[in-house]
């Protein structure tokens, strides 16, 4: 700040003494408290950067004197959320599973919790909307190999299907009719035509008639004489519009020749009981029924 030769113009406003090409700069002093606040914010800023993580390092920033971290805050918040929900989860655990769908409040909570668990553990095979794909069942429809009521769903999720290491896992085994030499190629092709007839698809009637005899002998014990399937055995209903591995001739031939026997892991050794209950509720909400 230079000393100046103050020239106070008729307007009464002093100038800073700076002049450029005859243009002078008025000096309207700011209030002193304004300066004090500016200084105070600078001091505050420095203190803040010491108290909280601010200064970058090679691997991480300095921790800050208060030890605050966004991860720690997240963990605390997650713990608080879990604590707040613990009571609801306990009620779900205590309720007989079959009664859960009749309790709208708990069912909503269970479905919401199951949806998030589903996103972590199930979407890899069943897809994020549970729509599945070839070989992975669509959980939204009303066709259930092992039953779509909530208790059956719980059983399937907890113990899996053909899951190694689970004593109560769901097991059934369709023979590989072609590979194991039970039927020859022509016979398998005839059964394919019969199966297409069962589900009302376009088919060769003569071959289908021959296939019907083979079906009655080889397949009806599990799939039923009318091909309606059997949930006790996990034998699919062959008369409906839904095909896990495809209802076209090539897929059907492949299924009968080699058999499929897909595997779903069991979850009771990895997830707690409440989570499996929530998953059962969620899957039930997608397309479950009797």
């Amino acid at each position: 700040m230079s000393d100046r030769d103050p020239s106070v113009p008729p307007g009464g406003v002093e100038t800073t003494g700076h002049e450029w090409d005859g243009i002078e700069e008025y000096n309207n002093p700011l209030p002193r408290w304004w300066l004090v606040i500016l200084m105070a914010t600078i001091v505050w800023g420095i203190a803040f950067s010491i108290a909280y993580p601010a200064w970058p390092g090679f691997n991480a920033s300095n921790g800050g004197l208060l030890g605050w971290s966004s991860r720690g805050r997240l963990e605390a918040q997650m713990a608080a959320v879990e604590a707040a929900r613990a009571e609801a989860w306990q009620r779900i655990a205590a309720l007989p599973l079959a009664e859960l769908p009749q309790n709208p409040e708990l069912m909503r909570l269970a479905v919401a919790g199951g949806a998030s668990a589903f996103k972590v553990h199930c979407v890899q095979c069943h897809g994020s909307g549970g729509a599945g794909g070839p070989g992975y069942p669509n959980l939204n429809d009303d066709d259930w190999l092992w039953g779509g009521d909530i208790e059956s769903l719980y059983q399937t999720i907890a113990h899996g299907i053909r899951a190694p290491g689970y004593d109560e896992t769901r097991i059934s085994q369709m023979p590989a009719f072609g590979r194991d030499g039970l039927l020859d190629k022509a016979q398998v092709a005839q059964v394919v035509e019969h199966v297409r007839a069962l589900s009302g698809q376009e088919h060769d009637a003569r071959k289908a008639a021959a296939g019907a005899a083979i079906f009655a002998e080889q397949c009806a014990s599990c799939h039923g004489p009318e091909g309606k399937g059997n949930r006790e055995l996990g034998a699919p209903n062959l008369t409906d519009a839904i095909w896990l591995y495809g209802g076209d001739r090539a897929s059907l031939f492949q299924t009968i020749w080699n058999a499929r026997n897909g595997v779903m892991p069991g979850w009771s050794q990895r997830l707690d009981d409440v989570t499996i209950r929530k998953l059962a509720a969620y899957v039930h909400s997608l397309g479950g029924g009797a």
């Binding site: 100046r4 103050p6 003494g17 009749q102 897809g127 669509n138 209903n237 519009a241 909400s285």
Partner: protein, 491 residues
């Protein structure tokens, strides 16, 4: 403005420049007159509105709060008498803010900074604080003397009393504020027994601090340094806006009554500095229109008192426009007052202001208390059922803006043979879905819609979700609709 004006604190030649300076304290003198009385009246009315409003009741039935004006942040509802606004209807608030903005333009272009001078909370509370200060410490001269006096017991007692009263007012100000956000009687009881939410105490604390600081300590500096409005003024005012002006052509050159008797060229201003003494922002109105002037008009009262005593015409300082003042100084005839108020600019502002207000009233009158929104499931878009029928899923939200639980029926329009049911419910697929929506709330349902095999050829079939309220006999059912579409995925 003939005399060269040199501020009393003009820097001494050779002294260092100060870019920052200590506040020059203002000691406004007591004044009485019509404008002062008007300001007292506005002060009483505005403060009464502020303090009483949260305590007014409005019966909305058992399912909604009975507070007339309530900003329910937790419940995300805004109540104002018969009006209830949901967050998605925030455009009403936006409209009110636009109206307030244009209203300020309108007021400013006609009567200048009337908001600043009469109704601004900063002005109202500062006036109140000054009244307290004057009652305890005395008028202008007494206060100046007290400031210079050493810290005796009497000075400490006076200053202590003033600041204590200021803090009490500040506390009551902050205390009244929080009542707008929750049920006032309940909150008052909880505030007193110490069980109110921390946010309430924090809000009171912050507002106590700001009221005490802004009205007690900062005062005119808030207007001069902190408020953007004085800067906007320069764009809003024109030569037809009423402002508080000093009729320099009549007052100058200044001289005492004795001097005027000797020299008829002397003007009406006797340079008694009454206008300066009463000014709450510490300026001299005779320097012309200034940024600091909030047009509180107290200098008019002060000057008229002096002019009255001297037997000279009133309004040497008075409300006038630059154009009228110019004509008056040249002795030209003045146009009628209404022509100054009614001119294209003010008409435009008024039309805009009233248009927005009327539009909002129309929208408000047609506001529905039943609503529905639909979002189609995207994954999966479509599900094939065992019997070959096709299913789409939708997240349906039903909004009940009435303060009572309502039974509603959801039906589908434009999808013959379609059946719907709720994913969580036990209900079988049917042509209508019935539900009860809680009062003043939203219910969310996941709705499945099923269409028999082979009915829909198009990839997307538009249709409508229709929700109809079930009313008591004699009541008119309300209907709301939402567009949706049924998707058929072909592999």
């Amino acid at each position: 403005m003939n005399a060269p004006l040199t501020p009393p604190d003009a820097p001494v030649r050779g002294a260092p420049i100060r870019f920052f300076e200590k506040r020059r304290k203002v000691y406004p003198r007591k004044v009485s007159g019509p404008f002062r009385r008007l300001k007292w009246a506005i002060l009483v009315v505005t403060l009464a509105i502020y303090y009483i409003t949260p305590w007014l009741r409005w019966d909305r039935g058992p399912h909604a709060p009975d507070q007339a004006v309530l900003v329910d942040l937790a419940g995300r509802r805004f109540f104002m008498g018969p009006i209830e606004i949901w967050p998605q209807e925030f455009y009403y608030v936006a409209g009110l803010l636009v109206m307030a903005g244009i209203g300020l333009f309108l007021i400013t272009s006609t009567v200048g900074r009337a908001w600043c001078g009469y109704a601004c909370p900063q002005t109202v509370w500062t006036d109140l604080y000054m009244a307290v200060e004057r009652a305890i410490e005395g008028d202008r001269n007494a206060r100046m003397k007290l400031d210079r006096a050493p810290w005796t017991f009497s000075k400490i007692a006076k200053r202590g009393t003033v600041h204590f009263l200021w803090l009490v007012i500040a506390l009551l100000t902050g205390g009244a504020w929080v009542f707008y956000f929750t049920d006032a009687p309940t909150l008052l009881a909880r505030l007193l027994d110490g069980t109110a939410p921390a946010a309430a105490y924090a809000a009171i604390g912050i507002l106590t601090f700001t009221t005490y600081t802004l009205a007690g300590l900062m005062r005119e500096q808030v207007c001069t340094y902190m408020c953007p409005w004085p800067r906007i003024q320069s764009a809003m005012l024109d030569e037809d806006s009423f402002i508080v002006t000093y009729k320099a052509w009549r007052g100058e050159p200044r001289g005492s009554a004795k001097a005027k008797a000797a020299d008829p060229a002397i003007g009406d201003c006797v340079d008694c500095r009454a206008c300066v003494a009463v000014c709450p922002t510490g300026i001299d109105i005779r320097d012309g229109p200034q940024l600091e002037c909030i047009t509180c008009a107290l200098c008019i009262d002060a000057c008229n008192e002096v002019m009255g005593k001297l037997g000279r015409p009133a309004d040497l300082i008075g409300y006038s426009t630059l154009r009228r003042d110019g004509k008056e100084s040249r002795g030209e005839p003045l146009e009628p007052m209404w022509k100054t108020f009614v001119r294209p600019r003010t008409l435009l502002y008024f039309a805009l202001w009233a248009g927005i207000g009327i539009a909002m009233l129309v929208v408000l009158a047609g506001r529905q208390s039943l609503g529905i929104t639909v979002a189609q499931d995207r994954n999966p878009l479509m599900v094939t059922m065992a019997d070959g029928s096709l299913r789409n899923g939708y997240t349906v939200k039903i909004l009940n803006k009435a303060a009572r639980p309502r039974d509603v029926v959801v039906t589908l329009e434009g999808l013959p043979e379609a059946r719907l049911w709720e994913s969580l419910g036990a209900g079988a697929p049917s042509t209508a879905f019935r539900a009860t929506v809680r009062p003043d709330g939203v219910e969310t349902y996941r709705i499945f819609v099923r269409v028999p095999a082979g009915r829909l050829a198009a990839e997307h079939t538009p249709f409508t979700f229709r929700v109809t309220s079930v009313e008591d006999p004699g009541g008119r059912p309300e209907v709301a609709e939402a567009d949706a579409r049924f998707t058929v995925v072909r592999r």
